[in-house]
Symmetry: C2
Subunit: 332 residues, 2 copies
Amino acid sequence: MTEATFDVVAIGNAIVDILAQADDAFIQEQGMTKGSMQLMFSPADADALYAKMGPGREVSGGSAANTVAGIAALGGRCGFIGQVADDQLGQVFAHDIRAAGIRYNTAVRAGEPTTARCLIFVTPDGQRTMNTFLGASQFLPEAALDRELIASGAILYLEGYLWDPEEPRRAMRAAIDIARGAGRRVAFTLSDVFCINRHGDDFRKLMADGLIDILFANENELLALCQTEDFEAAVERAAGQVPLVVVTRSEKGAIAVKGGQRFAVAAEPIERVVDTTGAGDLFAAGFLHGQAQGHGVETSLKLGALCAAEIISHYGARPEADLKTLAAEKLG
Amino acid sequence: MTEATFDVVAIGNAIVDILAQADDAFIQEQGMTKGSMQLMFSPADADALYAKMGPGREVSGGSAANTVAGIAALGGRCGFIGQVADDQLGQVFAHDIRAAGIRYNTAVRAGEPTTARCLIFVTPDGQRTMNTFLGASQFLPEAALDRELIASGAILYLEGYLWDPEEPRRAMRAAIDIARGAGRRVAFTLSDVFCINRHGDDFRKLMADGLIDILFANENELLALCQTEDFEAAVERAAGQVPLVVVTRSEKGAIAVKGGQRFAVAAEPIERVVDTTGAGDLFAAGFLHGQAQGHGVETSLKLGALCAAEIISHYGARPEADLKTLAAEKLG
């Protein structure tokens, strides 16, 4: 096994987020499930919902992409693989991820559909409700995988969301083989309860087959994955199959289980929750950076909580503050 | 003269801002003048600078467009005229201005160049340094003017920036004729010192010809326009030709002169200046809304200061807070 030249290589949907404020009545009227991610299958659906949206701001997003952006902001070396179209939003995505210092060289895809957009409605409580048009992102082909990049990352990080479209799902499986073949660890985030409802069998099989080394979930996702309503039972079940399980619990902080030992961290106190978009993604960023730096689980959890707190204090899921300095202050 | 159905109709560059953090060293290295607006004449120049920029966030901008977005957020009825291209950034601009409740029906322009972009570097002190690629915006033809819309606005609001390209300059002059022919007031913002250096003669002639009813400037712009270093002399000179002169003075607040009487307002105290982009635009919004609502100069100045304070407390030049409620609280 050669030494890893990247800390984390992620594969995920390459999305530009469009964020706007909305009230709870709007979320209800539109039949959205608050706090979840819903797919929009046609450009017409996406346009119709966009027309109902308030004035927006655009920030690059995508769950795994947000995570590597966070790790890079902390000083980690990252790569990203994800599909954009040959359009302005694709240029924005590619610019932002490269400007964050991340290796990104997935070739753009010509023609329709456009680059993925996620229409995010942020309610006054800071909760985000997402509506994603996957666009070009759902056509990430196995052939687009940079095998060398994947093999050179200490950790391969995958998002559950990518299981929805067929081509990326195939690509994910191939990427897992490449990473494991190179002796790397595979980290996986469950993404969303509805996503688990759609692909739980696949996710459970990945775990049962011992293909996942680090699992990220929030409470509800873990319950859905383990098909139980008992949190402790769910944690036990997941920890029985995955060497390192990390569960975020919003304002209750997060826990992790490794080798039968359980660790916990409280949520960082913050002045005002502006927009929770990316909270889980940035928690994963802090945690993975801690792992990559050789820190223990406890310190990794602390870094996760710190990054999550930064991201929910402003709009958008890419860090605005100097995470490196914040982390140095925190860890002393 | 028929009753006006719009409070303010604005004509301006239709721009999407791309904002990123930068340090002072970068501004210097790039040979930019901190705090100013510089034009980029080719798409290649724009792309080259974009490549050097950090991760960005996109928010609709354009000076006069920001102003009407502010007025609309305060509850005013507004229209906007400005040229975008048939591309994704054009869709973003059109969506955002319509979503703000503003009448906007300028037809998109097919083919090259793209919709205007402004690359805005925000330094740690909150100051913004702008680099604009005018793109489609510079091809706003006189034929695109909605004459009925202009004639139905109590105030026509124009930005000095539009004097740079030839076609919009012609359109501006025609719009002034339409507005004055309909018995409306014409408000004009000087935009930028360098812009005045380029077009001061035109601006001075507009004033001398009695075509401007309300003039907006900051201190440096007024000095450049009046070709003096003496602030009092400049105020006097401008007030001799324009019935209502409004001068913003950053942290010193703002003054206005009307009918020989001078009014002043202090700057609103704010916790932290995040990004001054749009401060002048939103000051104009508050002031013009006050005027449209029939308030006196003093109250109009207060509204201006309030809106400017809101906009500099976050990234981007479009309001995020509920300006209407803020204004109601402020004015009691």
